[in-house]
Amino acid sequence: MIITHPVLGPRDAQEFTYLGDASLIHRPDPEADDATGAFHEYLYQRENIAGEHRELWFHEQGDRSWLVVTRNTLTHEVLDVEFANDVARREGRSQ
């Protein structure tokens, strides 16, 4: 698989490590009343989609940036790559 890094261009997936579903960006609020349930969902439950999957990859052997890669889990085709920072800010995370 080739992941087209937003700055560094096409890179072999071998240079990256994989974390999982990009929903991990949205860590629940530990102060909230439903925090226990929310953290259970966040930590353990997954959509595990067959098809277009948004996921977090870390460019460990590169510029050490976190990326959100949209990839088809049925074909391995990489459809979109963005910096996780940009995605997180756009989706309302402050940091």
């Binding site: 072999d12 994989y18 999982g20 259970h40 353990y44 997954r46 067959a50 999957h53 049925l74």
Partner: protein, 416 residues
């Protein structure tokens, strides 16, 4: 027809034209007491024990392709019961005992071969961890032997003991571990289930569940709706896709594990050897091919094929520990989609939907579990209570904090 040496002889003299198909291909009935979704090892074993041990007469297995087309026919055939944790070890030892009697039970040659399994260690601390695991095994009545360098050298003289990065200090051996002909397990259970009246319906995908008011009353298929008092799902790598049709999310990610077979070679590898530190394990089939594999590729996938970096990683591990195999040629390789759970351990449990039961999360190691998983799932389906060896395999263990995490990796499926 009972299989026996006499039967083989008799059929041979008659030109081998007397063999009959060993299971029927019935049309689905409109209603069953039990429907098992998934005709892999676990689904077929469940149906077999439901019919035989729990005396249920009205059971069907629905398989979307042909039986044995999933992981039961794709794995590297290793059986063992060398686990550390209490939630696991009695279950896997129960499975090992069932393997030991399986061929007589099924009257089917599954080539169960207890040729032993050895896990290599390379540091003092790794040896300490293996000693602990070996002791945990023995506390559960399971055979475990710690081999030092010299004892290991006698069994496996061909290993690269003085590898600079991973010098081999010894190994933890389970002499009763070994290999089983995987296809024959599917066929043997299918034949046994069929003989006890189970309808095995191939090319019949469960496309949805009939659920109203929180009660599951059957499944939808391209061949029409089939009603059932209880539905048990055992679809391995497809677990999340299938349970999503019941509106459920699971603590599971689907990943691909690759397997490799070399050209046939003279007998050299006595049992199963695992080089965990280098992501490589190997055994030798009766035909002489080296059967080997390593880690999962490590990203979510439903494509039944992996990528080249893992091929390279596995082969590097192999050549590091057994330099001689560098000259063997690879004959074939393939991948299977495995249901990696959040703690690396399986689930055999009821769901919150009445009448709907789930068996999955077997990761890369569910083949060895096939007989025990069949008994435990059949027990749960028949009695509505967990089997005594499977009480820890509950959905709610994650919310209650009772994970069964053999490797202590946390909720990161690609590290288990």
């Amino acid at each position: 027809m009972r299989n026996s040496a006499f039967q083989v002889f008799k059929q041979a003299l008659q030109g081998d034209v007397g063999w009959k198909p060993v299971w029927r291909s019935p049309d689905p009935k409109p209603e069953y007491d039990f429907i098992i979704v998934g005709g892999g090892g676990h689904g077929l074993a469940t149906a077999y024990y439901l019919a035989k041990k729990y005396r249920q007469a009205n059971v069907a297995v629905l398989e979307k392709g042909w039986i044995g087309s999933g992981n039961v026919g794709r794995n590297t055939t290793i059986i063992r019961s060398n686990y550390l944790l209490d939630g696991n070890e009695p279950f896997y030892e129960f499975s090992m005992k069932l393997w030991e009697g399986l061929e007589q039970e099924l009257n089917y040659n599954a080539m169960v071969s207890q040729r032993g399994i050895i896990n290599l260690f390379h540091t003092d601390s790794q040896r300490d961890a293996f000693v602990r695991r070996g002791n945990a095994m023995r506390l559960n009545g399971v055979d475990a032997v710690l081999l030092d360098r010299e004892a290991l050298r006698k069994e496996c003289p061909f290993l690269n003991f003085d590898n600079a990065r991973f010098p081999i200090l010894g190994g933890l051996s389970q002499p009763r571990g070994g290999t089983v002909r995987h296809d024959a397990v599917a066929w043997g259970y299918a034949r046994g289930a069929d003989q006890h009246g189970v309808d095995i319906i191939q090319n019949c995908e469960a496309t949805g569940f009939l659920i109203s008011d929180g009660v599951c009353t059957g499944v939808a298929t391209p061949r029409g709706q089939i009603r059932a008092k209880k539905v048990g799902v055992a679809v391995a790598g497809s677990s999340s896709r299938v349970m999503a049709k019941a509106g459920m999310r699971l603590p599971i990610e689907s990943h691909v594990l690759q397997a490799f077979v070399s050209e046939g070679l003279k007998p050299i590898i006595p049992g199963v050897v695992t080089f965990g530190a280098g992501h490589f394990y190997v055994s030798q089939s009766n035909k002489g091919g080296l059967v080997f594999g390593g880690d999962i590729d490590g990203y979510n996938t439903y494509a039944q094929r992996g990528n080249l970096p893992t091929v390279e990683d596995v082969c590097e591990g192999g050549v590091a520990i057994m330099p001689m195999i560098g000259r063997a040629r690879l004959l074939r390789m393939w991948g299977g989609v495995v249901d990696m759970s959040m703690d690396g351990s399986p689930i055999i449990d009821k769901t919150h939907i009445e009448g709907l039961y789930f068996n999955g999360g077997w990761c890369y190691g569910g083949f060895k579990a096939t007989p025990a998983s069949g008994v435990a799932f059949a027990h749960l389906l028949a009695t509505d209570s967990p089997h005594e060896t499977a009480t820890a395999y509950r959905f709610d263990r994650f919310s209650r904090g009772y994970m069964i995490d053999e490797k202590g990796m946390g909720a990161q499926p690609n590290l288990h």
